[in-house]
């Protein structure tokens, strides 16, 4: 854990490091299915081989919602590398997702 964190901190933002992602959904709604599909696409494109996606269905584990401060669904939480990041929505806007995951700096024109 510590090791991972350290590497993440030392390496430049756009460079590698392991991505631990969690997607919170509430049931198999169209929004959650779209979100998971979008997420997989993005990861395959930008984080091949160094990501891990965990899908949590809040209807099955409602007690987990408070811990990660989940309010909206779907919510994507980047647990690693730190700091913790939250992206809400069905992830259809890829630009915003990349910014949110620090995979792309805030768009400089």
């Amino acid at each position: 854990m510590n090791q991972l964190k350290n590497t993440a901190m030392e390496e430049p933002l756009l460079a590698g490091g392991h991505y631990n992602l969690r997607l919170y959904v509430a049931g198999q709604t169209p929004k959650s299915i779209t979100a998971l599909a979008n997420l997989k696409n993005i990861c395959e494109e930008h984080l091949v081989g160094r990501y891990q996606i965990e899908v949590i269905d809040l209807l099955e584990h409602p007690q987990l919602a408070a811990g990660d401060q989940i309010l909206a669904v779907p919510t994507l939480v980047r647990r690693l590398p730190t700091p913790l990041k939250r992206i809400i929505g069905n992830l259809s806007n890829m630009e915003r997702v990349l910014v949110g995951l620090d995979l792309r700096p805030v768009a400089a024109p």
Partner: protein, 567 residues
């Protein structure tokens, strides 16, 4: 509760209500907030929304066995526990007992990136989980509007909030949603559109540098409710609302007479004292002994075993007790015995409504038979406000049959404006005056009015002695009532002439006696003379008889000698 907007339909199917357990609020709402429905509490910052909501949940858990969920969007659970601990709420132990669940929802815009469609199902899941974890019947969402600051898509938010209210209703939980008041609207983001059942508006108003909290029921669908603005109080005992309205004039009148504590004053009042449950006003300029009169009244009430509540606005209890010792009244034992309670507070400490509120609560709690307000002139505010406040105090006391004893300090100029329009509210009005003459001031008391009894029309002088207030017998001379040394001088003049009169009488008495003695002597002399004459006459008569007898005897002897028959 006669100032209630009643709707005839309300009687057909009474609405189930969730009692708040907050003093007064249950009365104003005629039973509590709507059970199983959401209630909106709105108001500006710092007016007590969170506290009212917390009280609702805590009371539900503690008093009515209805567990609750507190979902906070503003304060973390620890902060919340700490904040309400100062009011005596032990949230942490209630949480440990699974009677209350606290969930802090942190919404930080900078941490959230939005990408595409979403909904607030996460919130629903959390709320549902919290409700199930304690079996909650009550829910508080403390300031839901924080969401508007944290999330960008207001369209989604509005739709979701609408859904949330419907969802809460479906769950049949009694919910409180708090919201900041917006400019020109009840809430900043128009949440009131979605809550149509019950809306309470809290307000924190400053006038004359004094703050007063007020509560108003803006609407309450399906129920009658009080429509006024009610002052409410937040202090160490929590929240209390004061449904003090100008009640109807329906209080019963008692024929019981209670002593004023001063024998002379009792005599001045035709009934021998005050009627129980009436209001008594004592007016007077500085130093006329208003408080002393009040102390006598209190002492008399305590001596009867009645409880007294003394609201002091200008002196501390210790000071009053010490000062009253100087006129021979020791109130300390009464305080110790629990018969007398002092409540002292500077009038400027809170607004009028707050004073009223405090009094209301004290009276509720102590249930006294008599209440003293000393002095009402210390209460600051617009004349109209003071008047309406006192009106409500007196109404409150009358409706409970409590005797009210009010003192009022008059400025030296006079009493025109002094009574704050109070006179017509008062049943008995005693006026204390300084009678100025011959270079001295003396105290005089008279009964200006006393409803329902004949009373003295005299101005009586009274003195503050070490044995208490003493009414001096009035001197009524040709020049009217005399007081002080003028009275004493007049009394001396009177005494002088009385002595002279007595001496005169004695002399006359002696003269007559002498005359009588002389006359009697004369009578005796005359009688003696008469007796002497009578004795003389008797003697002559006897002598004559003896001569007659002798003549007859001689005649008989001569006849015998001649041999004739005895005649």
């Amino acid at each position: 509760m006669n100032t209630v907007a009643s709707k005839p339909a309300a009687e057909a199917q009474p609405l189930a209500k969730a009692r708040t357990g907050i003093t007064g609020l249950d009365e104003v709402t005629l039973g509590g907030l709507p059970a199983g429905r959401p209630t909106l509490i709105c108001g500006g910052p710092g007016c007590g929304k969170t506290l009212l909501a917390t009280t609702f949940v805590v009371n539900g858990a503690v008093m009515f066995n209805e567990p609750g969920v507190f979902m906070s969007f503003e304060e973390s659970g620890d902060d919340l526990i700490q904040n309400v601990a100062s009011l005596g709420y032990r949230l942490d132990s209630l949480v440990a007992q699974k009677k209350i669940a606290i969930d802090f929802v942190r919404v930080e815009r900078s941490e959230i990136e939005e990408s595409g469609e979403y909904d607030l199902e996460g919130l629903f899941v959390r709320l549902d989980y919290a409700i199930k974890s304690v079996g909650a019947k009550r829910v508080v969402l403390d300031t839901l509007e924080v969401l508007f600051a944290g999330l960008g898509d207001t369209q989604i938010l509005r739709a979701e909030i609408r859904r949330l209210f419907a969802w809460l209703k479906e769950r049949k939980v009694s919910a409180i949603i708090t919201a900041e008041q917006g400019a020109g609207a009840l809430t900043r983001f128009g949440i009131e559109e979605y809550v149509s059942d019950c809306v309470l508006l809290l307000d924190n108003r400053v006038s004359n540098q004094v703050t007063t909290r007020r509560l108003r029921i803006v609407k309450y669908r399906g129920s009658a409710h009080g429509t006024n603005e009610y002052p409410f109080l937040i202090d160490a005992q929590g929240v209390s609302v004061l449904p003090v309205t100008s009640a109807g004039l329906a209080h019963s009148a008692s024929d019981d007479v209670i002593s004023t504590g001063i024998p002379g004053l009792n005599q001045m009042l035709g009934a021998g004292g005050f009627y129980r449950g009436t209001s008594i006003l004592v007016t007077g300029t500085a130093g006329t002994g208003k408080t002393s009169l009040a102390a006598h009244f209190v002492e008399a009430a305590c001596a009867r075993g009645n409880r007294c509540l003394y609201f002091a606005f200008e002196e501390s209890p210790a000071q009053i007790i010490r000062n009253m010792r100087s006129i021979g009244l020791d109130l300390q034992p009464r305080v110790d015995a629990g018969l007398l309670r002092f409540e002292a507070a500077r009038p400027s400490l809170f607004g009028l409504e707050m004073h009223l509120a405090r009094m209301y609560r004290e009276i509720e709690e102590f249930a006294p038979a008599a209440v003293v307000l000393d002095p009402i002139s210390a209460l600051r505010g617009e004349t109209g406000d003071v008047h309406s406040m006192l009106l409500r105090v007196i109404d409150l006391l009358k409706s409970r049959g409590i005797t009210a004893f009010l003192t009022d300090l008059l400025s030296v100029e006079g009493m025109d404006k002094a009574d704050a329009g109070m006179s017509s509210l008062m049943d008995t009005w005693l006026s204390l005056v300084q009678l100025e003459s011959n270079g001295e001031r003396n105290r005089g008391i008279y009964v200006l009015k006393s409803r329902g009894m004949n009373h003295s029309n005299q101005i009586r002088e009274y003195q503050l002695t070490s044995q208490g207030v003493k009414l001096v017998d009035a001197y009524l001379g040709s020049g009217g009532v005399l007081t002080g040394s003028a009275r004493i001088a007049q009394e001396m003049v009177d005494a002088d002439s009385a002595i002279r009169r007595a001496q005169d009488n004695e002399r006359r008495h002696r003269d007559i006696q002498r005359k009588r003695a002389a006359l009697e002597r004369q009578i005796a002399e005359l009688r003696a003379e008469l007796e002497a004459e009578e004795a003389e006459a008797q003697k002559v008569l006897q002598h004559d008889e003896e001569i007659e007898k002798r003549i007859q005897a001689e005649r008989r002897a001569m006849a015998v000698q001649r041999g004739g028959p005895a005649s």
